[in-house]
């Protein structure tokens, strides 16, 4: 785009020099400083342009900024997401000699004021709210502006994987290298001791971040026991609803993921590497494609890597939307062009994987951990975390908390730190009820679970799971039966249908949960009897699914239901015995009525009711016919007087 061929060659040389340490001296230092944006020659405006930022309005903002900046002495750069989704769109301004300062909730109306600040250093009242300024030695700070690293959302975090997300231009390999990307890989290539790479990862105790938590080093070692050619696959098929860390890391810092991939491929001496990525992430795919091309240009991927005899051929494969493809054997089938159904193991993929060859599959976040691990060294990296869970974990925090976004903490930190300090707790006037952790394979933890440390074993012990790291906070407005039903509905649809316990079992579980939240008016024949029968057999059925399913999807499918039963039994029983939904969510169990004194007979509710369940004459109080009401709540939304009550 901005590189002419000449510049490209210079860039390539500089990147290689920086990595190999052949050059050196002042020129290189200057190059590094410039690309780290430690200081800038001319003002820069940086826009957070991840998928999340764009959907919050950064796309329109960018278009306006592009027009406004044209022909002016200012650079406009798109960066990834810094992780604070709830404050998007985010824009940073950096002036020569001054600290970079970030703004939140920026709208198209702020363009002029931002430009005035960038060009003339002029602060005004019409600027958007400040998020914080970035600490940088040697630069003059802005007076009276808060520091970003003291912000409640960022201060308690330990950012290794997300360190450069939102700071680095994801389309620039120079910036990535200046910030240290690819340096660990360059060193490992020079040493050329793949065996030692494996040993170091084993020593660090890195475990898979995609869900299972299998020790990464051991997986590599197992694959090395089988004769090549071996294949490496990066699993970027983030299908877990409620998780978006892989997307954000790829969009914000693709070179970190690629470097991790290169290290892993080197460790198992694979010359063929695949990245299996969700087709629903078009921006991540674009950025990754560009990053792969740049890395190839600089001799970091492809043939004769950094002048050695090493070769890594990276190919992108777009997934087609199937949750089960997170399972290793299913993912392999999908790349091979088959239905993504798991097969019995053994043989494990490390023995017989893609096209029958020994294959290692690692998740994006696992790979993104590798560069930091090798830069810090196994010992220093291992110092983070506790017990068998080492390093950091990224969580996608969403739901009913004040601040949502991507959070990275050292493992072993209490869940409370994430929910209450970083997330700011549930909004005022509401009460924390549960945290759903680990997505459809995980579970819901009640308030007392907030003191649990986030590590693989503690979470599993409490009936949840690390999973990929989706963390959804719920308050008293959330019905736990409805949440269990939501996950069962998801799993039931995503079950591949190969083995019967999962295919039929999840269907039955869903039917039982449906029965719990079905109102009497829709129960026919022996409906009530079947409801009780289902409830009584629920736990047994869940046990059968766990024991008899073929793959991890089925084996963990009952987890959301079981964790709800374990921690929220009273609420489930209220649904079953009293036929009430305490959170007033399950529409069938709601009884709507009109407060006669408040109703003015405006007939707004009559028009809104899709079931024709509201009767009454104009200017006189109306009534709801309970038998016809479907509990959709449309009337309540339309009533100008707030006369419609729920019991």
């Amino acid at each position: 785009m901005k590189d002419a061929t000449g510049r490209q060659q210079v860039g390539r040389l500089l990147v290689q020099e920086a990595l190999l340490g052949t050059g050196g001296g002042l020129a290189l230092q200057d190059w590094r400083r410039r690309h780290r944006r430690e200081d800038v020659q001319r003002p820069v405006i940086l826009v957070g342009a991840g998928t999340c930022g764009l959907s919050a309005g950064a796309d329109k903002l960018l278009a306006r900024l592009r027009d406004a900046c044209a022909g002016k002495d200012v650079d406009l750069v798109e960066v990834g997401c810094i992780g604070l989704c709830s404050e998007e769109p985010l824009v940073d301004v950096q002036r020569p000699g001054r600290c970079r300062v970030g703004f939140r909730q920026v709208g198209a109306g702020h363009v002029e004021a931002l430009l005035a600040l960038a060009l003339e250093g002029r602060w005004s009242d019409v600027l958007p709210p400040v998020l914080g300024q970035f600490r940088q030695e040697g630069l003059a700070p802005w007076e009276d502006q808060p520091w970003l690293d003291e912000h409640a959302f960022f201060a308690p975090q330990t950012r290794l994987v997300l360190a450069d997300c939102g700071l680095v231009d994801p389309d620039s390999i120079e910036e990535a290298v200046a910030r240290g990307s690819w340096s660990a890989f360059a060193r490992l290539v020079k040493q050329h001791a793949p065996e030692r790479v494996v040993a170091e990862v084993e020593e660090a105790g890195l475990r898979g971040r995609g869900g299972g938590g299998f020790p990464t080093g051991r997986k590599w070692r197992l694959a090395r026991e089988h004769a090549g050619p071996r294949v490496f696959i990066c699993n970027a098929d983030e299908g877990d609803p409620g998780a978006f860390m892989d997307r954000a890391v790829i969009e914000g810092d693709p070179h970190r993921v690629l470097e991790g991939l290169a290290i892993a491929a080197h460790a198992i001496e694979a010359e063929e590497a695949w990245i299996y990525i969700r087709a629903e992430y078009p921006l991540a795919i674009r950025r990754l494609e560009r990053a792969i091309a740049q890395a190839r240009d600089c001799g970091l991927l492809g043939e004769r890597i950094l002048g050695s005899g090493m070769r890594i051929d990276v190919r992108l494969k777009r997934g087609a939307g199937a949750f089960v493809c997170g399972e290793e054997t299913a993912l392999i089938h999908s790349i091979e062009g088959r239905r993504g159904m798991p097969r019995p193991r053994p043989p494990y993929p490390v023995e017989q994987g893609l096209f029958g060859r020994p294959t290692v599959i690692n998740n994006v976040e696992t790979l993104a951990n590798l560069p930091a691990l090798f830069r810090l060294g196994a010992k220093a990296w291992r110092a983070l975390g506790a017990g068998e869970s080492r390093g950091t974990k990224v969580f996608a925090l969403s739901g009913r908390v004040r601040r949502t976004g991507l959070v990275e903490v050292a493992m072993g930190a209490p869940l409370r730190l994430i929910v209450e300090e970083i997330g700011g707790g549930v909004p005022e006037g509401h009460r924390f009820k549960a945290a759903q952790i680990g997505g459809p394979s995980g579970g819901c933890l009640p308030a007392k679970g907030l003191d649990l440390p986030v590590d693989y074993e503690s979470l599993r012990g409490a009936g949840a799971m690390m999973g990929s790291g989706g963390l959804v906070v719920m308050d008293e407005r959330t019905c736990m039966v409805d949440v269990a039903r939501f996950f069962m509905d998801f799993i039931q649809k995503e079950s591949c249908g190969k083995c019967i316990p999962c295919r039929e079992g999840t269907r039955q579980l869903l039917a039982i949960l449906d029965g719990m939240s079905r109102g009497r008016r829709r129960e026919e024949g022996h409906g009530a009897l079947e409801r009780f029968q289902g409830v009584m057999g629920l736990e047994r059925l869940a046990g059968v699914i766990q024991d008899a399913s073929l793959c991890g999807l089925g084996q963990s499918a009952p987890n959301p239901v079981l964790s709800v039963l374990r921690h929220f039994r009273a609420e489930v029983e209220t649904h079953v015995y009293e036929r009430r939904c305490p959170a007033r969510v399950c529409p069938d169990l709601l009884l709507f009525r009109i407060e006669e004194e408040l109703c003015t007979g405006c007939t707004a509710c009559v028009k809104a009711c899709p079931a024709g369940a509201i009767v009454g004459s104009r200017k006189a109080p109306h009534h709801i016919i309970a038998e016809s009401c479907t509990g959709c709540g449309s009337c309540q939304l339309r009533c100008p007087k707030g006369a419609i009550q729920v019991d």
Binding site: T51, A56, F244, R318, G321, F486
Partner: protein
């Protein structure tokens, strides 16, 4: 109608020609490319793909129906995607979906008879911090409530009318609509 089918076949054949000598592992990329070009997978397209890869039609159909990405029906001019991720669910996306179904008088997965709107459910758009989210074409709408749904739909209806039923969705200012 016949002409339409022919036109479709030729565009599929163009794509197939670019994958000459392809093996089975090209099946999913091929289907993806065809869907990108055509909007959906027609019966003709599936037959051509099967012949090209020397696979039984049943296998091609089996793979195509396995994955959520593939559609077998044309989309509306304004395809509406409702995110049903966990965060969106907790913040009420079920009632947003129900409101859309009521407003458009179609179920999720369907297309309105005038061909203007199609409604689909997606597992997760990945914008969980802005839940609940719906996407109309390329426009994202964040923090949608059921009561906003008729307004949003009307906006696109009017837009279609003004342009004599536009075939391509045109951006509408999301901020303005959410205000």
């Amino acid at each position: 109608m016949a002409q339409h089918t022919l036109a479709r076949a030729s565009s599929v054949e163009n794509i197939l020609a670019r994958h000459s000598g392809a093996g089975r592992d090209h099946l999913i990329p091929l289907l993806q490319e065809i869907q990108e070009a055509e909007g959906f997978l027609s019966r003709v397209a599936l037959r051509l793909v099967a012949a090209h890869l020397h696979l039984p039609e049943s296998k091609v159909y089996g793979v195509a129906t396995f994955y959520n990405q593939f559609r077998f029906q044309a989309r509306g001019s304004f395809p509406i995607a409702v995110c049903r991720g966990t965060a969106c669910h907790v913040k009420g996306s079920a009632s947003v979906l129900a409101a859309l179904e009521r407003e458009l008088r179609i179920a999720a997965g369907g297309t309105t008879r005038d061909g203007l709107f199609s409604l689909e459910v997606v597992a997760c758009i990945g914008a969980c911090g802005l839940a609940p989210v719906i996407a109309v074409g390329d426009d994202y709408h964040a923090g949608v409530t059921p009561s906003q749904v008729p307004g949003i739909v009307d906006r696109y209806r009017r837009q279609a009318q003004e342009q004599g039923r536009a075939l391509e969705p045109v951006a509408v200012d999301a901020e303005e609509m959410l205000a």
